[in-house]
Every structure is written in C-alpha cells, then in structure tokens.
Symmetry: C2
Subunit: 349 residues, 2 copies
DNA sequence: GCGCTTTAGTAATGCGTATTACTACAATAA
DNA sequence: TTATTGTAGTAATACGCATTACTAAAGCGC
C-alpha cells in the first residue's frame, strides 16, 4: 500500500551533498550559489533514484497547497444534468494546468444545516486547497464565504444572480440579459401571448430572477402578463412535454413558448407536434443553453448560448491572481450569453 | 492570503492539556485513556477557537493523503463532450463522500511523450492522492500503471477494452456485448444491408474493438459485410449527418444505419428526413449512449444505455478496498449495458 | 506495605520538505 | 597584510500533526 518513498535526503546522499543543496537545486532557488557541476550531480542522482517530492511535506513546509477547490452546491442529480459544470471544469482545468495547480471537485447537496456549511468551510480552512471557486448560489453561501474572505482566503464565486455582493470576487454569466434578449426577440416577432415553462424549486434565486426578468421585459413592452401561461417544469424533457401540452390545450393558447432550458424545449417541441401544430407557423419556441442537440431539433431550436468554458477560465484566472497578489483587489466580471437564432421562431400571424 | 492558523497546540493550551491529548481526543484514538471531563474541555476549546486540523500536516504525519485522483486521458474537448465522465464523477463522488475522501480531477491530453507520462506518474508518486482511477485506455497507460501497481499503489482502471490485462484491477462496461446486442437486434429485424457510422481516431482501441465486434456479429449471422457501408464520423451530429447522407445517396443504400453514438445518430436522423425517407419504414437507425435527447428524436431513438454512474461507484469501491486492505486481491468487474428499444427500428420490408 | 496493574495523561520524536542562519574558503580591494 | 566581499555550500530549524514511549498517581490483591 505504502510506496517506499525516495526522499530528498537519499538523493543528497547519492549526490554527495546536503539535503539543503538538493532542495535548492531542484527548486531552482534564487539566491543559492550552487556550481553547475554540483547541480548536475543532483539532477543525475534524482533521476537515477526516480525521486518525486512528497507533496504533503512540501505543502506543509511551504504553508500552501497546490490545489484549488471547485465547490459545487447543487443537488447530486443536477450537478451534471447539463454540460454547464463540465464546461466550467474544462475551462478551469486549462488555467489550472498552466499554473501547476490541481483541481479538487467537491460537491455538496445544499448548505442548509450547519454540518454541511461547516464541511465546506473546514475543507477550505484545512488548507487542503489554496483557493476555491464556489458554484451554486444561495444565501448561505455568503455565510461561508464572507468569513473566509475576511481572513484573506482566496475565493471566487460563480454566477451570483445580479445585484452581487460588492465585496465578493465573482465571475458571472449575465443570464438576465440573456433572458431579456430572448424575450425581446419573441416580442419583436409580434408575439403577445407568450407562455413560459420554468423549473423549480422556486426557492432557487437564479430561477426566480430569470422569471422576474421575463415578466419585466413583457411589462416594459406592454405585452400582457398572463398568469395562466406560466408552467413549472422539472428541468427535464418530460416535464417540458407535459407543461407544453397543458399550455396548448388552453382555450386561447400562447403563440410562443419560452422554455427556461433546452431540455424542456425539447419536450415542448414534441408536444407541439403531437397536437398537430407547426413550428414556427403556429407556435414559436425558444430554449436556453444551446445544448448539442439544439441544432437538430425539428425545426432547429433558437436558444441562448452561455460562455461556460470561458467562465471557468476567467474564474480560474481571477482566483490565481487573488492567490498570488497581496492585494485583495479584484473586479467582478460579467460574461454575456449569445442569442443563437435558428428556425423555431416566426412572426406571429 | 495566509489564514492565521489555529493549531492543535493552541487548543491544547486553552484546554490546559498537552497537544498529544488534543490529538487523541479529536481523533478518538483507540487506546488513549482520556477522562470524559478532559475530553469535553478539549472539544470546547477546539470549538471556541474554531480549530480545523491542517491537512498537509495531517497527511504528512499519517503518511497518507485523503484524496483520490481521477485521471482522465482524453483530448481536452472530448472529456466532457458527453455525460460519460460527468456520470462517472457523480458515482465516484458518492462513495468518496461516504468515505471522507476528496476527488482530484486531472485531465491530460494523451500519454505519448515522456513528459506527460511522467506528469501522471509523478502526481501519483508524490502522494498527493492515496489512490487513483484512470479513465481512457491506451497502451501507454500500462506503462504508467504497472510500475505503480508493482509498488503497491492502489489503482483502478476504467473501461479497458476486453482482453484486459489480468493483473490490473479494473471496472469496465461491456460495450462489446452492447455492440453485439444492438447489431443482433438489427439482424433479427431482417436487415442485411447495414451501414455503420463510426468515429475516429482509428487508433482508439475502444473504437477499433467495437467495429470489429460489429463486423464479427454480421459475419457470424451470415450478413454480408459491405466495406462501402462504413463511414468514419467525428463524434458529433454534423459528421453523422454528412456520413448518413453519403450512405443514403449510394445506388443501393443500406436499410439500417448503425451509429456508434447518439450524437451521430441525431445527425443521421436529420439526413434521412432530408432525403424524404421515413424512419423506420425506409431506414432504421440505432445509436449508443442513450443521451437525454434520445427519447425525443423523431422517432424516438433505439440505443444502448451504459451504467456510467454505477461504473464510477464500483470503481470507487474497488479503489477504496485496495487502499484499505493489505491484500492486493481484487476482482475485475464488468457491467452490462442495456438495450433501450424505442421507435427508430423496424422490420425490413 | 509491597509489587502489580490500570488510569490519565505527557514528552519526545518522526513525517519530508523549505528556508534561514551560518561557515569555510577563495578572491579581491585597500 | 588585513579587511571585505563573494562563492559554494551546510547545519539547524520550522511546518503542524500523529504516534510511540514513557511517567506519575491511584487502585488492588495479599
């Protein structure tokens, strides 16, 4: 189980120098005066013995770990329900590798309950990770984050819904603008009866805000907000299907359906076909996420694409700058989503 | 940047005991005789000071880290192209949490080149992770894995193509049986002209074996193997679309198209519709993966579902047993995929 | 009242590295 | 010649915990 460790001491012995010298050479210490010849001896000895520094010892001595934590606060089954987090990891991985850092992925269901709150806090305070990125906003997050930030712990929050806490470094995708843009697009096409399929739980701040923005955009454009046109889905195609059916079966159904994500839009499209209606002639549909199947729905789905991988990169960069600089200065960054117009929307007749 | 650490020494001071006692109490050491009263004092002091053990120090002292590494050997853009890895992480996360372990995700493009090979080897030999799961098979993997295993390092390989190296602990999904089952299903429906859209690179052993199995199944059933019916896609819908078009435009096109994954099947379905053909009356289609959109293609896609999350769980369990037990005994495990019959296949006319 | 065991702890050490403070020697400057 | 500055290293220590070896006091049988 336990590998026989080769220590720097053994390397030193073999090279006929002190352990200090080994450390100096292998870390290329700035003010060490080691002759080229000795350096070579150390390198050779290290290679011959297949020396690999013990990370625990190094971290302890340096007082800093070489990993950053990605904390995912989201119910188990939802973390990887869509490519959002994978894409973030992908981007983060990129900058982590460039900086010689490891990524620790830690998923936790929620933060209600002191024990879970402490679990996250302890993970970071234990020094396991030299910094952390927290994804998944809820009010309790700031309870964890603020004390850590006050202590100078490098922390970056991901995707805080608008009105961000000023003092917290964060990188977000401006989903609210995305929602507005998408809604306006429907309005510009002449739709005035716009259904909406959102998803729960309604305690999710992100979802709430998006819904509010949807309504607000309608209001500003003087498009009637019809409460009966709102459906609560469950994130997945089946729920979108059911919700769409119930919308279509109304006496005066909507001419457009705004789906809060592509998966539900997928179900909605099936429902519309099932009722013998045409897209977009009879009903327009939009989704959100631009998942891989979106170009291949029939007709191809108009949706919003978020720069998720870039989000991960930016978050990583910000975190690293916080880790390196004494300064606690930072700027909150906001990335914009992109409207992907395909064929699922048409002008209202 | 650096949190002011609370050390066990400070806790000891506050509780009026020795550091040893603090360690004994907080770790609930088996043969320590500490009175209930003293225990309480220690607990109180620890809580009051908000003490969190330093993980680097703990790991060093214990000689073992509390994290396990998930090594992903796959090109950057393909790691998260489908939910395979996310699902594995999901399952792995489950058992990791139950065992108080962290997950370190390390992605590396390939293993050609000594530097990359060493990077992985060093990560594990550095003791950063107490064990590792390696996903992404290529011959070089065993170059990394074998020496580590010989040294007793706990290692589990994921999804080695059949004919596994006997001496290596691994957990796999039996994709070859999946391919056979799917192919046989088409044959049983009477298809004798079966096109195949595979994906590259052809150096990928997994892909090669699957293709071989596809052909072998045809051969055994005396179904002609028509080389012109083979297309090399690029994993994504667009390539499936193009490949399918070129199959359909042949003088004597296939009556069924076997797609090596759902994404390409998605494109193929679009191509079939584009040529004005009906599914499954004119052409049958199968995919592989059972991605979320599969029930909602038109018609719903018949495909193969792999127990990916379970794969992660099993791998985690096996790894943990290797980490705990002195014994190096293990059993290679193979999980079966499940045929999901929907509506994209019909009997040949 | 003597040895023996149990109870309730503590002192000391080790883990493997990074780093600080020091040394021996040579080269140079005054 | 002597003081000064490099040069090329080394010895010693810190990092914070776990753990082993030890101790002082109390309990107990006889």
């Amino acid at each position: 189980m336990k590998l026989r460790r080769v220590t720097s001491k053994q390397v030193a012995e073999r090279a006929g120098v002190s352990q200090t010298t080994v450390s100096f050479v292998l870390n290329d210490a700035p003010n060490s005066n080691i002759s080229e010849e000795t350096r070579q001896r150390v390198f050779d000895a290290a290679r011959e013995l297949n020396y690999v520094p013990d990370m625990a010892a190094r971290n302890l001595a340096r007082g800093r770990s070489n990993t950053i934590a990605l904390i995912l606060i989201k119910p188990h089954e939802k973390v990887f329900a869509d490519p959002y987090i994978p894409n973030v990891i992908s981007g983060l991985n990129h900058v982590a590798k460039a900086n010689g850092l490891r990524i620790l992925v830690h998923q936790v269901e929620t933060l209600t309950g002191t024990s879970q709150l402490d679990a996250v806090s302890d993970l970071l305070r234990s020094g396991e990770a030299a910094g952390a990125i927290i994804s998944g906003w809820m009010p309790e997050v700031s309870e964890v984050a603020q004390p850590l930030l006050d202590d100078g712990y490098p922390l970056v929050l991901l995707d805080i819904p608008d009105a961000p806490i000023e003092a917290i470094p964060c990188v977000s995708i401006d989903h609210l603008s995305g929602v507005r843009e998408l809604t306006q697009y429907l309005i510009e096409l002449g739709h005035r009866r716009i259904g909406c399929i959102t998803y729960g739980p309604m305690t999710d701040l992100q979802v709430q805000k998006r819904l509010t923005m949807f309504r607000e955009t309608l209001r500003i454009a003087n498009v009637p907000i019809i409460p009966e046109f709102l459906r609560l889905g469950a994130y997945d195609p089946d729920s979108g299907y059911a919700a769409a059916l119930s919308l279509l079966d109304m006496d005066e159904p909507p001419t457009a359906i705004y789906c809060m994500n592509d998966l539900m839009a997928l179900g909605a499209i099936a429902a519309i076909h099932e009722r013998g209606l045409r897209i977009p002639e009879d009903v327009s549909v939009v989704g959100y996420d631009d998942m891989r199947f979106a170009p291949y729905t029939v007709p191809a789905l108009t949706t919003m694409r978020a720069p998720e991988s870039e989000l991960g990169e930016r978050a990583g960069e910000l975190l690293i700058s916080l880790m390196n600089k004494k300064t606690r200065k930072f700027k909150q960054q906001v990335l914009r989503s992109q409207l992907i117009v395909r064929n699922s929307c048409g002008v209202v007749r």
